[in-house]
């Protein structure tokens, strides 16, 4: 075990995969400047700065992926993906299908997102659900350094386009990472804490929020299970349904806005496939339907907090059981 930050875990995964496979490369705005370790080890052909043009960066990745390379591109901040939607959605996500399976698109798109830097809605916007809605893509959004490392490795090895969103607030958070960390399969959730009374489903920074809430709830005798989705697509439906079958109560927590977010999908999934198990309404705690503000206190208020999770769970447990 080594202790490392999320940022270092991402770098370590990149370096290991680049060592393993000469077709892996990385490019983006400032990538060669900022990742000078990679530049030093792998040289300027495989670690490149680009012009400031997200569309062509992503398009170049898609074209390269279809013809023999495994590019990783860093698009910096999630809102900048708006300039690359065509390349990600219409090309990388669809051209395999459109071509009748002739081409594959092994590429990774990296972007930061989430509250924490205080520079507002054009740098911070949690848009992961757009890509969950779009066909042909995979999406991961881990919460721990070990998961970032293991899932980055899988993302790079995967033959499909994978988007990896890094919650900016987690960048310098530390955690234990196994020395010989293996790739962690995409599509498997992690049960961070087992519990009987209520299921808290979350991902990225709000997993920590749920863990804190679970601690508080435990002192009140309420036993919360906390599921960290890690992958948003493929989604580990079994893990969610198994937990709700046990607890009968579900609260989904994420920072992204509510409408048509990942929380909506999970609530809908459970309302269909675990309806008979449900003993209380399914609650979502999410960011508001507003752009993220820059002002620090507002930015923090945008993100669901542990006390709100606690209150939500208490309201469910108080509810008379309906089944």
């Amino acid at each position: 075990m080594t202790t490392m930050t999320v940022n270092d875990a991402i770098s370590a995964a990149l370096a290991e995969e680049m060592r393993n496979d000469p077709t892996v490369m990385i490019f983006g705005e400032g990538v060669a400047t900022k990742r000078h370790d990679l530049l030093a080890e792998f040289g300027p052909a495989r670690v490149r700065n680009t012009p400031l043009a997200e569309g062509i960066i992503a398009g170049t990745a898609a074209g390269a992926a279809a013809t023999g390379l495994r590019p990783v591109v860093d698009l910096l901040f999630a809102p900048f993906l708006c300039y690359a939607m065509d390349e990600i959605v219409n090309s990388a996500g669809k051209l395999r299908y459109i071509s009748g399976g002739q081409f594959k698109f092994p590429m990774v798109v990296l972007a930061m997102t989430g509250a924490g830097w205080g520079v507002g809605a054009q740098h911070n916007h949690n848009v992961e659900s757009w890509f969950v809605h779009s066909p042909g893509l995979k999406i991961v959004m881990p919460s721990t350094p070990a998961d970032f490392k293991g899932l980055m490795k899988s993302a790079i090895r995967d033959d499909n386009p994978v988007l990896v969103f890094a919650d900016i607030a987690l960048g310098y958070s530390t955690g234990e990472v196994p020395e010989d960390a293996e790739a962690i399969p995409l599509g498997k959730a992690a049960v961070r804490r087992e519990g009987r009374d209520v299921t808290l489903v979350s991902y990225a920074k709000t997993v920590g929020t749920c863990m804190a809430a679970a601690d508080t709830l435990a002192t009140a005798g309420i036993d919360a299970e906390v599921i960290d989705l890690r992958s948003l697509k493929p989604l580990d439906e079994d893990a969610i349904l198994r937990s709700v079958a046990k607890t009968g109560r579900l609260v989904v927590v994420h920072e992204a806005s509510r409408l048509c977010g990942v929380g909506a999908e999970i609530a809908a999934l459970v309302a269909e496939k675990a309806f008979a198990n449900l003993r209380a309404p399914v609650l979502r705690l999410t960011g508001p339907d507003a752009p993220p503000p820059a002002s620090f206190p507002l930015e923090q208020a945008f993100v669901p907090q542990a006390d709100a999770v606690v209150a939500a769970v208490r309201s469910l447990v108080a509810e008379p059981a309906t089944a």
């Binding site: 992503a58 390379l69 090309s91 071509s99």
Partner: protein
């Protein structure tokens, strides 16, 4: 690299096949048996001229008006028709339809009907040529990217050429400037008469060629490709041509200036080449009749093949989404 000369009679036959293919499709569409399509009628010369100057290792990206490029590369008109008709034996199993047919076995990669998509992907294909053209990873070849004058008004044009120039990517950009962009005349969308000036400003060399003369196109393309192979640098070839039919089927061209249409009808690339060869005594009436018969037979067989091909089974709806 020695470039074999283009046999003008063979070029004529190829162009006539392309025209006959499109006319077959128009007929099928008129009889409700094929979906709407964008034909290449009038633009046979850049297709045959450029594609004849490529070698088997080169890769091609094209757009919604791709039948000429495919047939010039030797695509099977039966499988193309089947694709347009949504049949199982189409190049993409019927999933593409007419607008984005790719054929990996022929090096026709990543056709896009998002105007500009071909430009966004081309840099990646060029990059993979460069990266894989190394000891132990031998993949020679350059990239030919066909696009329209309309595509040149999407910002991806600038982004693609700029990246190709900065990264020295072996790409032949072929603009088929056919004067129209769907229902809008080129003169309504740009002040210059063509786009070569923009290439120059980005540091990409270029040439403008009579896009209705396949021999002139072949010569210009051959010289350009020779330069790309020697220097690794991109080149833009702008072929001045004309869309003799409407934007797609059906389209009565009511919005097209009659004099302009007449002017270009007189320059029909097939009629012109044929007249010239006849004038020069290189083509007899018998030879023409023989070509016509061969083309007719090919298209009859192709139609029969496409007709006989079944629709894909409904399970195909969700296959080929992920690799």
């Amino acid at each position: 690299m020695t470039i074999r000369p283009l046999d003008p009679v063979q070029a004529l036959e190829r162009m006539m096949l392309i025209r006959a293919y499109e006319e077959t499709l128009i007929d099928l569409h008129g009889r409700g048996r094929a979906a709407g399509t964008c034909t290449s009628v009038g633009q046979e010369a850049p297709a045959v001229g450029v594609v004849s100057a490529l070698t088997a290792d080169d890769l091609i990206l094209t757009n919604h008006r791709s039948a000429g490029h495919l047939l010039a590369r030797g695509a099977d008109p039966g499988r193309m028709l089947a694709e347009v008709m949504g049949k199982q034996d189409g190049y993409c199993g019927g999933k593409s339809g007419s607008l984005h047919i790719s054929a990996k076995e022929l090096g026709i990669v990543l056709t896009s009907t998002i105007v500009g998509g071909e430009l966004a992907l081309a840099t990646g294909v060029g990059l993979s040529r460069t990266m894989l053209n190394q000891p132990g990873l031998n993949k020679p070849g350059i990239v030919a990217c066909f696009f329209g004058d309309g595509a040149a008004t999407e910002g991806r044009f600038q982004e693609s050429l700029n990246l190709a120039a900065v990264w020295k990517l072996p790409i032949l950009y072929v603009c088929e400037n056919n004067q129209w962009q769907a229902f809008v005349h080129r003169k309504e969308t740009m002040l210059a008469d063509g786009i070569a000036g923009q290439a120059a400003a980005l540091g990409v060399e270029s040439a403008v060629v009579d896009g209705n003369d396949p021999l002139a196109v072949f010569d210009a393309a051959s010289a350009a490709i020779d330069g790309i192979r020697r220097t690794g640098k991109p080149f833009l070839l702008e072929a001045m041509t004309y869309r003799l039919r409407g934007h797609f089927e059906p389209d009565d061209q009511g919005y097209v200036d009659k004099a302009e249409l007449a002017h270009w009808r007189d320059r029909d690339p097939i009629l012109c080449l044929r007249a010239r060869l006849e004038r020069e005594g290189r083509l007899t009436a018998d030879a023409v009749a023989a070509i016509e018969a061969r083309v007719r037979a090919t298209m009859e067989a192709a139609t029969a093949f496409a007709d006989a091909s079944p629709y894909p089974g409904l399970d195909a709806l969700t296959t080929d989404v992920y690799a």
